[in-house]
Amino acid sequence: MSSLVLTITETLRYRGALGQWSWVLHRISGLGVVLFLTLHVIDTSWSVFYPALYVKAIAVYQTPLFTIGEFALIAAVVYHALNGLRIAILDYRPALWRYQARAAWIVLGASVLLLIPVFILMFGHVLNFYNDPERRVLPFADVLESQLPFAVGIVLAVVAGVLYSGIHGVIAPRKETPTDNMFRRPVGSRWEKFWWSYMRVSGFLIVPLVFGHLAMMHVIQGVFDITAADYVTVGTNVVNQTGTSVEFVANRWNYLVGGIAVWRLYDIALLALTVIHGFNGLRYVLTDYTADSTLIRRGMIYTCIIGALILLMVGGLALLGTIDQTAIRMAEEAVAKLHP
């Protein structure tokens, strides 16, 4: 913790160049995206397992707090993606380092340029929604309350991680190899080498996938259109007849091209790549600031593993599950209950 505080205060005090601020933005945007990813994967899985909860989740997304969050999310994703490309390119071509500062400015500029039209389009959706006299917005208390389980879940994951770390420490205590004062000989880690490559390669793959996803779900059709009736669901030729979010999901996942559920495949790829990328990134951040305590540091690694496994399992099962008419009916009932 002290090292986190020190890093934050000293990063503010050290007059580093743009690269330093790019790194700060990269971390913050990454952390934000991982947090949203966690909510989003669990929420979306409910469309299969608990349609009523999914309806509520989408209603929560349609509240002002989450609308602000959505804009921040888009900005974070765009910046993180472009800056990630910059880092990956520099990592693979170190000789280009001379252009790093210019590249950092370009990333900033490109992000802004890209976000201007995106925000205008998104803002159009928001205006439409608030111009609709029949709009229904959940009370703020409901919004907070609905996030409580996530907060509890995150705390539990952290506690479980540290607990596992403790058990790990008891079962396999770290051998203190007697080291000569002169020579400390660390050993190479194949894992870290793998992760280094994974972050960069997955980054290249995620960028088109996630940009496509954002375009469909936030720009072309916003989060408000998910619950619009008699509307062709994006990426399909099927109309959302009930105007429920569950049918929206069902339309997409059941849409076949040549007998293949393309959007399921798309989302499976997106889920696997982003969750692993995101939680490994989270591990980088958490282990950076917990170097002083082996227990906590290892605990943070376990937390990340737990988090990633849960999301992969829950999200994966949902993507393999079926959404039938019963689910859509349950969603309709839930809508009625939510906005009596």
């Binding site: 090292s3 790093q100 400390r184 660390p186």
Partner: protein, 250 residues
């Protein structure tokens, strides 16, 4: 010109000064071309002899006087007053324990240095003619940049990864390893690459680029670290460094 110095002081031996604190000194008759080190000497020799800092060669070669000056790591002997203005803030470099005023404990830094096998290894028989091993100017050029390192610690203590995690081997040690990894005569490159592939090795570098501008020797540090990462990934140093055209004397 008149210059005000604001210096981070700490002296555990004197009650009341045993917590880090700022102290101001005023100097007059300062020439714009004076080095910060000369000003620190004037403060020490004319105003307060207890001010402690390291220095030796005074022209940027020995690496003793790394400090954070106006927010950036520099050598006090290599930065002139005219580049700083008339308010100059000096504090110890960050990430190593402060012992007194501007003096930090360099031991953790040198421990990282020693960990990367910073010495030439080649146990094959020497040339039969009793002369030097041969090396082409192109091969020599590949590691020229990293031979310039003077171990001043400006880079390592400018790195947010190192601030957060003192176990990170740090830019300077990687630069030192690079000098041997890319030396065509050296044979222990694989050992060094393995050392640097450890969890607190090169992977803690987040390509932040604070090290490169901090280097008083203008070493392209982040580039060197990148080259080491690629060598680890490829399992070989082949083809990583493209030698710029080297012109020979006629």
């Amino acid at each position: 010109m008149d210059v005000t110095f604001r210096i981070r002081r700490y002296n555990p031996e004197i009650p009341g000064k045993d917590k880090p604190h700022w102290q101001e000194f005023k100097l007059s008759d300062v020439e714009p071309t004076d080095r910060v080190l000369e000003m620190l000497h004037r403060i020490k020799w004319e105003q307060d002899g207890t001010l402690a800092f390291r220095r030796s060669c005074a022209h940027g070669v020995c690496g003793s006087d790394a400090m954070r000056i106006n927010g950036v790591n520099r050598l006090a002997c290599k930065v002139l007053v005219r580049d700083l203005g008339n308010r100059i803030q000096v504090e110890p470099i960050l990430g190593l324990p402060v012992l007194k005023d501007l003096i930090v404990d360099m031991e953790p830094f040198f421990e990282h240095y020693r960990a990367v096998m910073p010495f030439f290894v080649n146990d094959t028989p020497l040339p039969a003619d009793g002369r030097e091993r041969l090396q082409s100017p192109e091969d020599r050029e590949k590691f020229d940049d990293t031979t310039k390192c003077i171990l001043c610690a400006c880079c390592t203590t400018a790195c947010p990864s190192f601030w957060a995690n003192g176990k990170y081997v740090g830019p300077a040690a990687i630069v030192q390893a690079h000098r041997f990894i890319f030396d065509s005569r050296d044979l222990a490159g694989d050992d060094r690459l393995d050392i640097l592939a450890s969890p607190d090795g090169v992977w803690r570098c987040r390509t932040i680029f604070n090290c490169t501008p901090a280097c008083p020797r203008d070493i392209e540090i982040t580039k060197a670290i990148g080259e080491v990462k690629l060598a680890i990934r490829n399992g070989s140093t082949e083809g990583i460094i493209e030698v710029r055209d080297i012109k020979h004397e006629a």
